[in-house]
Assembly symmetry: C2
Homo-oligomer: 277 residues x 2
């Protein structure tokens, strides 16, 4: 059981930032990645559609014999976490919103938190309600202010490699000026693509704002959860294996994946979901 | 038969620019539109995946009893035209590449033509080979120069309403400078979203460059083809009906559609493709 792989899925390449962090913290674990590149992006699609896709994604990973599933996509986390837990009750499922919310509450001093994410994630209100829950559970009194901003152009900019260009700076200025002027001290990067824009975002927000990378937070909680349940692959001597599955074979995947993952995606396999059942 | 609707499909909202032109030229025709918004975009997906989606899209329209299909998506046209004709041999199918290529050859004086489109359309080489075929068929001698440029950020910019902003001008400068310096006199807008950036593109290319709108060209050929086959809905007194079908119910559709179509999309119906068979 402990030597079974961890399954990680995302709408496309973005979840590789999560995989990278999981690999860093848990070098012995076997990892199976699924990117639903035939239906990417999820960020501007509806609750019903994203839920259906996420359940199919998880079903595929379960077919690969995973011991745990990491929903490495904030939109799928926001829309489908409860559908996933309902459909697969025995399977440990870690999503992105909780870890990001907990890290933000831990980081803030002035209780003024910003969240940037896709249209879907922001529209769901998931981060906002989760951050409020975490504050409520912590029992600290006082006002909490949560400002959210959808940044729909960030994902295509990252995928086109515009990580630190004048174009990206202009787009970031458009999205982030309101958050900066509101005096937040913590900003959640609530989409797996956004850590790749960290330089531009940090420059704009200034040194007094802490950036919370939800990929880092989720990887940390993955390690905590597996350790807590005694499910770590501790007997292993060799580094864990990695396999990658995509639903569309566009040559872009490998090329973009290198930026996200930090190394090549060997063993890339094309699979079919949905119409194949 | 003549009173049957024309079917028009696209990966999402882009094909509404084609529908708008068809409506303008053929006010009496009934029109059925399908936008595959659950799987949008097609522009950066593979040949195999786009072909599969396009066949499912056409199958849906045939189920609606259409007399003709307009493939109002350049990427689907580039990748799937022959698969569609092979799968549905009796059905008149009009795609976007031929009309755009013919209009470009008619417009150029210096035989130096630029083509801008999605990564998929440019990668397919469809416009380039079609333009060369049209030149060859016209029997005119001499060199032909065709310069192509993928513009992957144009679609997200249009969908975010960045039609004439500083951000869009910077992106256009990045994509178009090479084409302008190469001295083209004709530029094919080989993606249904691009006509909405006409102002920015025209400013940058200058008045000596003719912009060919493949949506306009395709609508014109739709009218010619129906007239030629005696299939026009000429007996009608009232304006033709319109119905709209999407595979994802994201609220964005209506909002963006208004920009593309020029009026609201009444009778918007959610349908399922692929996993529904």
């Amino acid at each position: 059981m402990n030597s079974l792989p961890i399954g990680i899925f995302d709408s496309g390449v973005g979840g590789l930032t999560v995989m990278r962090e999981v690999r860093r913290l848990l070098p012995a674990e076997h990892l199976v990645y699924l990117g639903d590149t035939a239906r990417v992006p999820y960020g501007n699609k509806s609750h019903a559609t994203v839920s259906r896709y996420a359940v199919e994604d998880a079903q595929f990973l379960i077919g690969k014999g995973v011991k745990m599933i990491v929903v490495a996509c904030n939109t799928a986390s926001a829309f489908a976490a409860s559908a996933l837990r309902g459909t697969f009750p025995g399977m440990p499922i870690l999503e992105m919103i909780g870890p990001g919310a907990r890290a933000a509450v831990a980081a803030t001093r002035n209780r003024r938190i910003g969240v940037i994410a896709t249209v879907g994630t922001i529209g769901s209100g998931a981060y906002e309600s989760r951050i409020r829950e975490v504050f409520a559970a912590s029992g600290t009194a006082g006002e909490v202010e949560i400002l959210t901003q959808a940044c729909p152009l960030f994902v295509p900019l990252v995928e086109e490699g515009e990580l630190n260009s004048e174009i990206t700076r202009l787009v970031a200025l458009k999205y982030l000026t309101g958050l900066r002027e509101a005096g937040i001290d913590t900003l959640v990067l609530g989409c797996t693509h956004y850590p790749l824009l960290r330089t531009v975002i940090a420059d704009l927000m200034g040194p007094e704002v802490t950036l919370v990378d939800s990929a880092e937070s989720a990887a940390l909680e993955t390690a905590v959860l597996l350790r807590d349940r005694g499910m770590l692959n501790e007997s292993a001597q060799a580094p864990g294996a990695e396999s990658f599955h995509v639903t569309d074979a566009a040559p872009r995947f490998n090329q973009i994946a290198r930026t996200f993952l930090g190394h090549d995606t060997e063993q890339l396999e094309l699979v079919e979901l949905g119409s194949a059942g």
